[in-house]
């Protein structure tokens, strides 16, 4: 079977200007942040970013003007503050934000996984979000005659995900007590190309002894990159928590264009490897 393990540079180099990119994880956990930093470093342009609940990933890509459009149910730093670059870019009209609700975002992903054009639901009625999402269509249920809302399948060119472990064939496995692991499956199946960074690459024999831990089988995965602490500063529960100190430092830096530039130089542009980055960035 094909060996899918590549370097981070090789993997991220596959992402073209103008691509749509789905970023896994949610709200400061399980985010593929080393991959996001690599994307920032390459200066990839005109991206449409899909994130269920965005934080530093979305904010940084907007701050360097890589993302022109964001699709998410939330972008912010819970208990810390509003996302500075995201907020500014929306307010200046520079970034288009397609605000989903939590349920409609997941339904969009599920429809793509199922290979159907839409999923019906009875949510979001009476909300102005229907004006923002003008591709959501109200229709009469053929069974009950009640009003239903059709949520179109959400698919994107590339999914960027962070998982626990994988073998060289690309089977992605979870760790005990991992939460929201289904997001890895939903994003992976909704993308035309799936790139997964993992805490470690293991022997195929280990994968095959614990097949129940595979959340995304090899045929859903295109490229695998081994990056310990690849979610940092986002968390990978139960292995490590979000690095709230680092995230708060980012937040403060992003409030000011000069400080944001310094942050990028120090933590994104200068470090040659993720190890170099961790030496200066990890507060625990």
């Amino acid at each position: 079977m094909k060996d899918k393990v590549v370097s981070l540079d090789e993997a991220i180099g596959e992402i073209q200007n103008g691509s749509s990119v789905g970023i896994g994880g949610a709200s400061m956990v399980y985010k593929p942040m080393s991959a996001v930093r690599s994307l920032v470093k390459r200066g990839t342009k005109d991206l449409t970013v899909y994130a269920f609940m965005g934080d530093m990933d979305v904010d940084m890509l907007i701050g360097v003007r890589s993302a022109k459009k964001v699709c998410a149910a939330y972008v912010g730093f819970p208990m810390i503050g509003l996302a500075p670059n995201f907020r500014k870019a929306c307010q200046n009209g520079e970034t288009e934000f397609k605000e989903y609700s939590e349920l409609t975002f997941i339904l969009g992903l599920r429809a793509a996984c199922m290979g159907i054009p839409f999923l019906p639901t009875r949510t979001m009625l009476g909300s102005d979000l229907l004006k923002v999402n003008n591709d959501f269509k109200l229709f009469d249920c053929p069974i009950t005659k009640q009003k239903l809302l059709a949520i179109p399948a959400m698919s994107f060119d590339v999914a960027l995900l962070h998982g626990y472990q994988a073998d060289s064939r690309g089977n992605i496995q979870i760790v005990d007590k991992q939460i929201m692991a289904e997001l890895i499956a939903y994003f992976g199946k909704s993308a035309r190309k799936t790139i997964v960074t993992v805490e470690k690459v293991v022997d195929s024999d280990e994968v095959r002894r614990f097949p129940e831990k595979t959340i995304l089988p090899h045929y859903e995965v295109d490229l695998v990159v081994e990056i310990p602490f690849g979610a940092h500063p986002s968390g990978f529960l139960p292995l490590y928590s979000p690095d709230i100190n680092h995230i708060t430092d980012y937040y403060s830096a992003a409030l000011n264009p000069e400080a944001f530039k310094e942050y990028l130089n120090k933590f994104v542009y200068s470090p040659e490897t993720n190890e170099d980055y961790l030496k200066i960035a990890k507060s625990f």
Binding site: S27, G76, Q91, E99, S101, E102, L129, E182, G235
Partner: protein
């Protein structure tokens, strides 16, 4: 004889008043960033509503005496964390969509006289004066939870507006007739609890009405901090004070880290 407390913060009073709105055996949902809502539901569970099913994000019935907010920020806290279940997102949303959640708790950035809630933008959507993080499940909860308990940490005119700039989640549009006409599962916002008052909604007009005023607050002050005329009874009752036991439970057992005050530090 119930012993009432003279010593409580606004966050504690709101938590106690919200808790009194919860019935034993109900199922409730709350998302992230509603610390007073967490304190309120845990208080209800350890007092009059031991069978209240609490769904916090994907967690079902977290232990009332563990710091819920430490779960996501501290991996060792996460390891020690106890709950009846973690669901995946699809199972959680199935529960919403089947209409099994009795109430949700929302903290709005703006709420208007019909209870419409805005957590999206101030000003025009495409070029807003202020962009909020987004409503997460607000558009879902206002359609799918049987009722909504709203809390506002600080009762201000910029929160209580005549008409919201953007409806993230609907309240009682069309003078309260819209929900019946559309067969919406949810009855929408039922109570709004602030640091000054408890408010509800008039059945025949869908408009917000004053139900009780907290000890120390005045009608004049409430009206000054509300940008629309409030329906008010001729004699307005005073909100029942928290008891000594309720305040002790919140401070010593439920939320010793005082996460509830975060609602006053963030926006």
């Amino acid at each position: 004889m119930t012993e009432y407390s003279q010593d409580y913060t606004p966050a504690e009073l709101i938590a106690v008043v919200l808790a009194r709105e919860m019935k034993d055996g109900e199922k409730m949902y709350l998302g992230a960033a509603t610390p007073v809502g967490v304190a309120a539901t845990q208080l209800a569970r350890v007092t009059h509503a031991p069978n209240l099913v609490c769904v916090y994000g994907i967690w079902i019935d977290p232990d009332p005496y563990t710091d819920y907010f430490a779960i996501m920020t501290d991996a060792s806290g996460f390891q020690k964390f106890r709950a009846n279940a973690t669901t995946n997102l699809t199972e959680l949303h199935d529960l919403w969509q089947r209409g099994e959640i009795d109430f949700g708790i929302i903290r709005p950035a703006q709420i208007d006289q019909y209870g419409n809630i805005n957590n999206s933008v101030l000003g025009d959507y495409s070029k807003p004066k202020l962009r909020f993080p987004g409503g997460v499940a607000i558009a879902d909860a206002t359609n799918l939870c049987k009722r909504i308990l709203v809390y506002v940490p600080k009762h201000e005119a910029r929160v209580f507006v005549k008409k919201v700039d953007f409806i993230t989640g609907p309240g009682h549009p069309d003078e309260g007739k819209w929900r019946r006409r559309m067969n919406i599962t949810s009855k929408g916002p039922s109570k709004v609890v602030t640091d000054m008052a408890v408010l509800g909604f008039d059945q025949s007009t869908g408009k917000m009405k004053l139900e009780s005023i907290h000890p120390g607050a005045s009608l004049e002050n409430i009206e000054m901090n509300t940008s629309f005329p409030l329906i008010a009874p001729e004699k307005i009752p005073q909100t029942e004070r928290p008891t000594v036991e309720q305040i002790q439970l919140i401070r010593d057992k439920i939320d010793p880290a005082n996460m509830r005050d975060l609602d006053y530090r963030q926006r």
